[in-house]
Amino acid sequence: MNVTREEAAKALDDIGKASDRVFQLKGYHHGAPHFIIWGLVWLFANCGSYFMPEYREYFWPAGLAFGFVASTITGILQSRKWPKGATASAAERRFGSRMGMTAGVVMAFIIAIVFIASPETSREVNAMISIVFPFLYMAGGIWAGWRLFAIGFVTAAAIIGGYIWIPEHFELWMGLFGGGSLLAGGIWLRTA
């Protein structure tokens, strides 16, 4: 059997594409439950704060605590889901370690930006923290897959639109459309 250099180049290209596609699907499937969890947090904390403003100070801490615990447990369960004897591929190890480091950098960035900009109203704080994530999804989507980019784009548009045009109902808007877009996005990623 003879293989030409052109055939070899095409074969290696096909191998690279197949590997990239698996890496993309893994990312989608690992990310989906986290989108759903944080969509629920956003929905709960924003709508709760809107309908019961006297308890506003409790909704976000409770929502965030739930989100971090649920996300951590989900991450642990995902890592244990592998069959007996399975070992992490290079792509899996790369993805897991980069996700952890990225989360740390993002949290530090949010704390720094809120400290420097010193937003005055709860609407400004809410919008400033919330807007970071959809742009991250868009940036990540450029590398990981167009579905992630689309979720980020729709969510960012919802946040900016609500901040500009309906400031008096911003929390309700954020709960329904911000949280809703994350929930729908998570379900969409699961179908990939």
Binding site: M1, A8, A11, L12, D14, V22, W82, A86, A88, S89
Partner: protein, 98 residues
């Protein structure tokens, strides 16, 4: 330099092996998911999976989820080694070997 692996080199089989090789060792992939990733037909997939299974490169597991039949495949250790050897051959060829 070793020659090409004639079983793996065929385009669809190469993509099947590459896809399964990207999974953690021992992890199974459902037939439908593999088919959708490769954009292949049922018949085409079945033919190539049978060829890979006959060579001992993949293992096929059939079971039921509720009443629904499920077929899953994974790359065996022999399959992974054969795939890695074939990739090394292709890289050597491009690098000017042979």
């Amino acid at each position: 330099m070793e020659g090409p692996d004639e079983i793996i080199h065929q385009s669809t089989r190469l993509r099947i092996a590459a896809t399964l090789n990207s999974l953690p060792s021992g992890e199974l992939m459902e037939f439908g998911k593999l088919k959708s990733i490769l954009g292949a037909t049922d018949g085409n997939m079945a033919t190539h999976l049978a060829a890979l299974e006959k060579a001992g490169y993949i293992a096929v597991e059939k079971d039921f989820v509720g009443k629904k039949p499920r077929t899953r495949v994974n790359l065996t250790r022999v399959g992974r080694k054969a795939f890695e050897r074939h990739v090394a051959y292709l890289k050597d060829l491009l690098a000017g070997g042979n």
